[in-house]
């Protein structure tokens, strides 16, 4: 093969999750807290309700999407001050393989989504017993 025709193999960057619906999508602020048995992901998703949440965990990547019902004032209304926009939330995290995917669960209250990621058994700290011989 002629070197000038060589096809360049391009390095894949992390795939970005693209929204399928129209409108703007925002990145929610999160806190990540590690407990003994689980990892907690807490996200501020104001305006989202439980039926609008999609959580996907695949190959160590956790993707959280929260649908927000539009609540803009009527078109004719002009804002006096507009410091934020209204739209869905979406964020992805590289969590690693040590999560028991079947046991992931989440709850939402007051616009705060808490995702529980229970650690897989091998990852939990285990006390190794040392027997005296």
């Amino acid at each position: 093969m002629d070197s000038s025709e060589a096809i360049e193999k391009r390095e894949a960057t992390t795939a970005e999750v693209e929204p399928t619906r129209g409108g703007r999508t925002y990145i929610p602020t999160v806190d990540i807290v590690e407990h003994k048995d689980e990892l907690l992901l807490i996200a501020d998703v104001p305006g989202a309700t439980h039926d609008g949440i999609d959580i996907d965990y695949e190959r160590g990547q956790l993707t959280v999407q929260a649908r927000v019902v539009p609540r803009h004032p009527p078109e004719r209304i002009n804002y006096l001050l507009q410091e934020y926009g209204i739209g869905d939330f979406c964020r992805s995290f590289q969590v690693g393989e040590g999560i028991d995917a079947d046991k992931i669960h989440a709850e939402i209250a007051e616009g705060v989504l808490t995702v529980h990621l229970p650690k897989a058994a091998e990852l939990k700290p285990r006390r190794i017993e040392v027997k005296a011989r």
Partner: protein
């Protein structure tokens, strides 16, 4: 890592800010730094005039009504809030982006509103205030009739 938390592309922010300053010179605000959550700029506010009332909305996830204090006096609106996050023993905080602590935001509205008729609702982390204008403020609106 730069996280886009607000809707405005950086280029539009200057024009928007200039227009706003020009129209509402007396409008006090805590624009501050839109990209950081310090107590001057948290929470972000949206304010609009629907004719009869001034409406204000703030995204305050995780706050309950008892954690918030809304005061209206004349044409001054003040919103205070407090959210503590308790750190449990034996836990590691890997990331902390959400606002914690106390905030105070004060706004000068373009007209006087009636503090007795202010309606405040908190749903799914969104605080909505409907502040009806006073009779005097409504009467000041001048209609131009075609003659």
């Amino acid at each position: 890592m730069f996280l886009a938390r607000r809707s405005f592309p950086v280029m539009r922010m200057d024009t928007f800010r200039r227009d706003l300053d020009r129209l509402f010179k007396e409008f006090q605000s805590g624009f501050g730094n839109l990209w950081s959550l310090d107590e001057r700029s948290y929470p972000a506010l949206n304010i609009w005039d629907d004719g009869e009332s001034i409406c204000a909305e703030a995204e305050v996830s995780g706050f309950k009504m008892k954690d918030l204090e809304v005061t209206v006096m004349g044409n001054q609106l003040t919103i205070k809030g407090r959210r503590e996050v308790s750190k449990k023993e034996g836990t590691t905080l890997h990331r902390h982006e959400r606002f914690t602590g106390e905030f105070v935001r004060s706004m000068t509205l373009p007209v006087e509103v009636n503090p007795d008729k202010v309606d405040a609702t908190l749903k799914d982390g969104v605080l909505t205030l409907v502040m009806p204008k006073t009779q005097a403020a409504l009467a000041r609106k001048i209609t131009v009739k075609s003659g």
